[in-house]
C-alpha cells in the first residue's frame, strides 16, 4: 500500500513533521488541530473534562477537584499554563470576557481529543484486567 504523507504540526513541540497516515500515526486525517497520538497530561485531561460545563478560572479549580473526587488539587500556575496552551491549540475558547473574568468552554476539537484520550485510557484499563485475574 502506497504511503500517504501529510504535513502536520506535532503536538506540544510546535514543530512541523511529516506523518505517514497510512500507518495510522495521525489520529484523524484532515484534522486541523495540533493534537496527535501523544497521551494527554493529567492536568490537560481534567481541565478539558471540567470545561464540559463552561467555567472561569477560580471556579474551574474547584470543578477539577470535584470531578476528580478530591484527588486533584491543581495549582493556579499549572491551570493558567494549560489554559493558555489549550486556547492556542483551539481546544478551548473564551465564551465571555467582561474585563475581570473570562469564561472558558471546550470546542469541538477539544471534545474529540478528550474522547480519543478517554478511549485510550479505557483500553488501557481493559488490558489491565489480567492483573485482577491473577491476583
Amino acid at each position: 500500500m502506497a504511503a500517504l504523507f501529510v504535513l502536520t504540526k506535532k503536538y506540544r513541540h510546535d514543530s512541523i513533521m511529516l506523518c505517514d497516515i497510512s500507518r495510522g500515526i495521525i489520529l484523524k486525517a484532515g484534522w486541523k488541530m495540533s493534537y496527535t497520538s501523544s497521551p494527554m497530561t493529567e492536568a490537560m485531561y481534567y481541565i478539558l473534562l471540567a470545561l464540559m460545563n463552561p467555567n472561569h478560572g477560580y471556579q474551574l479549580m474547584a470543578a477539577i477537584e470535584q470531578v476528580s473526587n478530591g484527588r486533584i488539587k491543581m495549582g493556579p500556575g499549572t491551570l493558567y499554563g494549560v489554559l493558555t496552551r489549550l486556547q492556542k491549540d483551539e481546544m478551548i475558547v473564551i465564551l465571555n470576557d467582561d474585563g475581570r473574568r473570562k469564561t472558558y468552554a471546550i470546542t469541538e476539537d477539544g471534545r474529540t481529543a478528550l474522547n480519543v484520550e478517554y478511549k485510550r485510557l479505557k483500553d488501557m484499563i481493559q488490558d489491565g484486567v489480567i492483573l485482577e485475574e491473577r491476583s
Binding site: R12, H13, D14, T41, E42, A43, M44, H56, G57, Y58, M61, I72, K73, M74, G75, P76, G77, T78, L79, Y80, G81, V82, T84, R85, R100, R101, K102
Partner: protein, 234 residues
Amino acid sequence: MGKLVKRLMLDDIYAIGRNENWFSDMAKRGLHLKKIGRFFVHFERGESKKTKYIIDIIKEKPSQEQLDVYHDCGWDIVTNMQSFYIFSADEKLCTSELHTDPIEQGFSLSYLNKRLKINLIMMSIAMLLFFGIMFSMFILIDEPFLFMTKGPFVQQLLVIIAELYVFYSVMRNYVVIRNLKKSLLQGKAIDHKENYRKARLTGGILAGLFLPLALLTIFIPFVEITKSKDYTLQ
C-alpha cells in the same frame, strides 16, 4: 516602607531553584524581595518571615484575572525581569503550590528554550567571525611578535577573554534551561531548596575577575591616546 537594601545578583536568573531558595533565606533574615535587575537585587528591610518564592517563566504578561486567582491561592506577584515573573506566598497563608504538574511546567519552557537556542547559534556565528577577524589581523601583520609587545595586542587579548566569557554565559544559560525542561518533562519537580551558596561564591569570583578585565578593555585605548603624540589611535 522599610529601608531598601541592594545585593549583587551573583547567580544567573536561569538558576531557578537556587534563586528561589536564596530569596526565601533572605526573607527569613528580614530582607524581602522588591525588585530584580541584571546586576542588583533590591530587598526591603522588615521583620523575619517564612516566605516561599517561585520564579515563573511566562511568555505573555499575566492577565488581571490570572493574578486575582493567584492571590486567592495565597500567591502575589513581586516583580518581573523580562519573562521571569517572581511570585511570593506566606508559608502560613498559602493554600496551594503554584505548579502541581512538572510536565506542564516543562512545556512552558519551550519558548525560552527555543529563544536561547537561537541566541546560542547567533552567538556561535558571531564568535567564529570575531576569531576569524582577530586571527587574520595577526597573520597579515609583518612583525607579529613585535605587535605582541604593544598596547593594542594586550587590549585585543582582553577583548577575546571578555568575549569568551560572554559566549560561555550564553551557552551555560541554554544548557541550564534545556536540562531543566528535560527534567520537568520526566516528571521531576524543581528543587525549591537547591543550595545557592557555592554558585554565588563562584559567580562572585568570576565577576571579580572578568569585570575589571572588561573595564580594562575600555580604558586601554584612552591610555594609548594620551601616550601617543598625535592623539589618535593608529
